[in-house]
């Protein structure tokens, strides 16, 4: 390929001076840029994606020559899902600019950028600005947006596959639509890891019109070396339950010793803390092993990152915080502890090793129980055929649209029809109806209630020219304080203190250092004296003061009492679940399963049964004076939890007196006073009715009325949509509640206007989010008429894995009364004793 016309001499010399040749996709992107085409670049890690994304900007800017003193306006905008990535990429792109002495100014802008610098960036913009979706939204909501972005030539979107699956992706899509209106000729470049359906991302990059979906061009970099990935075979049988994998730790430690730098991924922060502790227990060589997760203090995380980049660490135990982004020096091995949960996620993690495309990434999957062996094997099979499980493209959330509409009014007055056409250019909103759009604008203006009570307080008003504008500066200020779609739980700082001995809750005034942050809800569920693992230590919770949880070091040898600090926990992906069911239904394949998993399934076949493809197995058996019903839908923990809530309601109605249930990624077990097994045998169709799709009707509605998870979902929507103000750090409410509780608002709204747009937004979230109702619905359809019941006299090999979870993660039903009744009974017992 001749590169001469596309890559100027200065650049070719620079490549040569580094001993590189421009890669094909880098040249292809230059060609796309020359033609003004928006393009999606799909490439494995290590393919030089970032440089490919920026080369067209650098070439273009280099050729236009030095900028006038006041700057020439923003040329390229780079958006990353991570603040740290934006800063890191700015540093990386500086290198060629400096070495080629190009007259190009590059800056980054995040929430941490000082106000003065942000102001200057608007007045005298750099050539290239690296930023995040939230900052872009803020800049677009300013009256100077048209001027600032008027000359924009290129937008580079990094880690696009990760961005588009969330509400942040919705917000960004609307901002891109706005940019297209301001600077119609800019070209967007999306950088993405391998995805199953690149067309969804190609649509995202370009404006959608009526008719067939518009697509960005596609450049695909094929494969690189096949990853060298295997299951960590310990040579002995794995336990039937548990998620920590204690027996794998010596082997993992051995691997760390043999490699240069190892990343040890875990699925939860608790797992990370546990793994870190166990590795240090084994660490006779005092290898530098560090821990990194989202709750740790920022300073500590930065120190770990710096040490990693400098090659000073042998291993880092981490969670999803290191799934994406930054290059951490010379990682030559990745170990994933626990189940992979999704084929794409595991590929992303494995890609963190050996950031050079020509060399194979090396990785071990370390299952912690027998079900996880199946899951690991399913992931290996998926990777072998390069199958992916990226989630389906989103339908744009209405709460995000509400936020955007207010932002648009803050920037400049808008006409309804114009804005409607503009937002439908964003792929997630391409099918937005005029009615829904109107309802959202109405919500922004006055709350959008059927009872028109708030007309006189309207936030945006329609002027004589027919255009909507923001009422006053205070509303604009309110918008700026509440921008963004990340509504994390209120966090409390964890501060190490000294306790006065003997007196629980009494903490001496001397305050020690901050260890990190935990969710308020986690702390609220602890009593003073409870112990938990955090930041690699066992801590004792003492008290909450202001926005801090005060803790002390627990005495050596204390077992942590509260193991539930789950952090982010991903459910098993639909795609991988289907593959696990496939392995289960294929006895000829079982011999491939190590560490006792094959024998375990063989026992299951002898003692109970193995469901045929498409069937769902339900087992019933008595145990310790209770009657158990165990089902194996393999649809992920969230869908199973929802199923559990609804099943217990139905068992209650059938007078079987259910007492509780437990769910994991593979199945659900519920136990009753009544003989559910006998009922299933006696009444034909009982199980079909029990698992009937109609549970998603009234039962679901009734449960949603009180579900804590639904209330949390609603609160998130209310904050994003601007119904209530966001909690800002350091503003923890003490004593009397300052703002109104969204739980109370939810109750009132649900009763009086069940179809209000915010409840619709919350229900849409519940379908795919914490309640996973959509997946549950698909499952109920899938198993209709295909339930295989097996009545047993005792627990089966498969069911043991679930039964062993009882007590660890048991849910007593969500009704508050059960907890209150228990507390009352305990008091009574104490009084009588």
């Amino acid at each position: 390929m001749t590169t001469a016309p596309l890559l100027p001499a200065r650049f070719r010399e620079w490549f040569a001076s580094r001993g590189w040749a421009p890669r094909r996709h880098q040249i292809e992107l230059l060609a796309k840029a020359r033609d003004g085409r928006s393009t999606l670049l799909v490439a494995p890690t290590g393919a030089g994606k970032t440089l490919a994304g920026f080369l067209p900007s650098l070439v273009d800017l280099a050729e236009t020559g030095p900028a006038p003193l006041k700057g020439r306006g923003l040329h390229t905008l780079y958006i990353s899902p991570l603040k740290a990535l934006a800063i890191d990429v700015a540093r990386n792109v500086e290198t060629p600019v400096r070495e080629m002495e190009l007259p190009i100014r590059i800056e980054s802008r995040t929430g941490d950028t000082p106000a003065a610098k942000r102001k200057r960036q608007v007045e005298r913009p750099p050539d290239i600005l690296m930023t995040t979706p939230e900052q872009l939204a803020l800049m677009l909501a300013s009256p100077s947006a048209s001027e600032l972005f008027g000359g924009l030539k290129r937008v580079v979107l990094d880690e696009l596959h990760a961005l588009v699956t969330s509400k942040r992706g919705d917000l960004l899509s609307l901002d891109l639509a706005r940019l297209r209106a301001i600077a119609p000729t800019f070209a967007a470049t999306g950088l993405s890891a391998t995805v199953r359906e690149p067309d969804a991302l190609r649509r995202y990059l370009v404006g959608q019109g009526r008719g067939a979906p518009a697509l960005a061009d596609l450049v695909v970099v094929e494969g690189g070396a096949e990853p060298d990935i295997r299951i960590l075979d310990l040579g002995h049988d794995l336990p039937l339950a548990g998620h920590l994998g204690p027996s794998a730790m010596p082997a993992i430690y051995g691997l760390i010793r043999e490699h240069k730098t190892t990343l040890v991924f875990t699925n939860t922060r608790f797992q990370a803390e546990y793994t870190f502790q166990e590795l240090w227990r084994l660490n006779d060589d005092v290898l530098p092993i560090a821990i990194h997760h989202g709750s740790l203090d920022v300073e500590q995380r930065r120190r770990v990152e710096a040490a990693m980049t400098a090659g000073k660490l042998k291993a880092v135990v981490c969670t999803a915080t290191l799934d994406l982004g930054i290059d951490w020096g010379d990682v030559d091995l990745v170990v994933n502890v626990g189940a992979p949960k999704g084929a794409s996620r595991i590929m992303q993690r494995i890609g963190r090793a050996n950031h050079r495309m020509e060399e194979p990434s090396k990785a071990y999957l370390a299952p912690t129980n027998r079900f996880e062996i199946l899951e690991c094997q399913a992931a290996l099979d998926a990777i072998a055929v390069a199958a992916q499980d990226t989630p389906d493209p989103r339908t744009g959330a209405l709460d995000v649209l509400a936020q955007h509409v207010l932002g648009r009014a803050c920037a400049e007055p808008f006409a309804l029809e114009e804005l409607y056409d503009e937002v439908r250019q964003a792929a997630p909103y391409a099918d937005l109806s005029w009615e829904d759009f109107g309802a959202v604008v109405d919500f922004v203006a006055t709350g959008g209630y059927a009872l028109r009570a708030y007309e006189r307080f309207a936030k945006i008003v329609r002027g004589a020219d027919g255009r909507w504008r923001v009422r006053d500066g205070r509303v604009a200020q309110q918008y700026r304080m509440n921008v963004g779609t990340i509504t994390e739980a209120t966090m409390l700082k964890v501060r190490l203190s000294r306790s006065s001995p003997g007196k629980a809750g009494a903490v001496a005034p001397r305050r020690g250092r901050i260890l990190g942050e935990v969710e308020e809800g986690f702390v609220e569920a602890m009593s003073p004296g409870d112990t938990f693992i955090f930041a690699g230590e066992i801590l004792r919770f003492e008290a909450i003061q202001e926005d801090e949880a005060l803790v002390t070091r627990a005495t050596a040898g204390t077992d942590p009492k509260i193991p539930a600090y789950a952090g982010a926990k991903f459910p098993l992906s639909t795609f991988l679940a289907a593959r696990v069911r496939g392995i289960l239904a294929e006895p000829a394949e079982w011999h491939r399963l190590p560490m006792g998993a094959g024998e375990w399934l063989e026992q299951q076949r002898r003692r109970s049964l193995i469901p045929a493809p498409g069937e769902m197995l339900v087992e019933t058996f008595p145990r310790q004076r209770r009657h158990y019903l165990v089902a194996f839908p393999f649809e992920g923990r969230l869908a199973h939890q929802t199923l559990g809530m609804l099943l217990t309601r139905r068992l209650e109605r059938a007078r079987l007196r259910p007492l509780g249930f437990v769910a994991n990624d593979y199945g659900i077990a519920t136990w009753c006073m009544g003989d559910v097994g006998e009922m299933a045998e006696r009444e034909p169709g009982f199980l079909d009715t029990l698992f009937g799709e109609d549970m998603l009707g009234d039962d679901l509605e009734e449960w949603l009325a009180e579900s804590a998870m639904m209330k949390r979902t609603f609160r998130d929507c209310a904050v994003i949509a601007g119904l209530i103000e966001r909690n800002h750090p350091g503003e923890r409410k003490t004593r009397r509640q300052v703002t109104v509780s969204t739980d109370l608002v939810y109750d009132v709204l649900r009763r009086h206007e069940p179809d209000h747009i915010l409840l619709r937004a919350a229900r849409a979230d519940a379908a795919t989010g914490l309640l996973d109702v959509k997946r549950l619905g698909a499952m109920l359809v899938r198993i209709r008429g295909r339930i295989r019941h097996k009545a047993l006299d005792r627990v089966s090999p498969l069911a043991i894995s679930l039964i062993l979870e009882i007590g660890r993660e048991s849910v007593i039903g969500e009704a508050a009364d059960e907890i209150l009744a228990e507390a009352e009974a305990m008091l009574l017992e104490e009084a009588l004793a």
């Binding site: 709350g447 209630y449 009593s527 009086h752």
Partner: protein, 236 residues
């Protein structure tokens, strides 16, 4: 499974107790009914809290007032009191009565019709106007009990509101937070009755001096009330 054969959860029951020797029922709505005196007492209705927030740009659903009045009308219909006492902060702010919608104004008048109705003033509605109907007083009495908005210092026989008590129970790593009546047999602090009225944790230090020998928290559950001692409760 025969859904029809299944009884719906029974109507939730009130709890019987005694304050200063007077027999009374603690209703799950947050109201309190004195059987012999036929007096119904509620605290902290916070009517028009939604519209109060709306003035500042938080468009809370404008249904709180009608929800609160409907709940009040319901409890009046169940107990058929002669006398109703609202223990202050009946409106969320001074201009609350002006903002009452037509339907809500009518519903309130209907609920009040034929009753001996007393509005005690609170810090949110210190100068409630008599136009609203009923009698406006800073305090009143019920047998040996003083009825006022703000609890008085030290131990005494009274019914008060203002503090919006809620009780929090933590068990097995899960927690429940619910409105509660706090009582030591002489004094009772009522929970807030209003639909948008939040709560102050019963473990807060303000409650200590009010109940020097401890209290029982009558916690409002979904299906009944639960009597809990402070030892069973948790701070926020």
């Amino acid at each position: 499974m025969n859904a029809a054969a299944m009884a719906l959860p029974q109507k939730i029951a009130a709890a019987e107790t005694e304050i200063a020797g007077l027999a009374c029922l603690l209703d799950p709505s947050g109201a309190m009914f004195f059987t012999a005196e036929k007096a119904l007492v509620v605290a902290d209705l916070h009517l028009e809290k939604g519209s109060s927030y709306a003035r500042r740009g938080s468009f809370l659903p404008p249904y709180d007032t009608r929800a609160t009045i409907a709940s009040l009308a319901g409890v009046i219909g169940r107990y058929l009191p002669r006398r109703v006492v609202a223990l202050g902060d009946s409106f969320h702010d001074r201009r609350g009565p002006e903002r009452l919608g037509e339907a809500e104004r009518r519903a309130l008048a209907e609920a009040m019709a034929g009753l001996d109705w007393i509005w005690i003033t609170g810090n949110h509605d210190p100068d409630l106007r008599p136009e609203i109907g009923g009698e406006v007083l800073p305090e009143t009495e019920l047998g040996p009990l003083r009825l006022r908005h703000h609890p008085a210092a030290g131990a005494c026989r009274e019914l008060a509101g203002h503090l919006h008590p809620v009780a929090k129970v933590v068990l097995y790593g899960r927690s429940v937070r619910a409105k509660a009546f706090l009582s030591d047999g002489d004094r009772c602090v009522l929970p807030a009755f209003g639909a948008y009225a939040g709560g102050l944790n019963a473990c807060d230090e303000v409650f200590g001096p009010l109940f020097p020998s401890g209290f029982t928290a009558h916690v409002i559950g979904r299906n009944r009330l639960f009597a809990l001692a402070p030892a069973a409760l948790c701070g926020d």
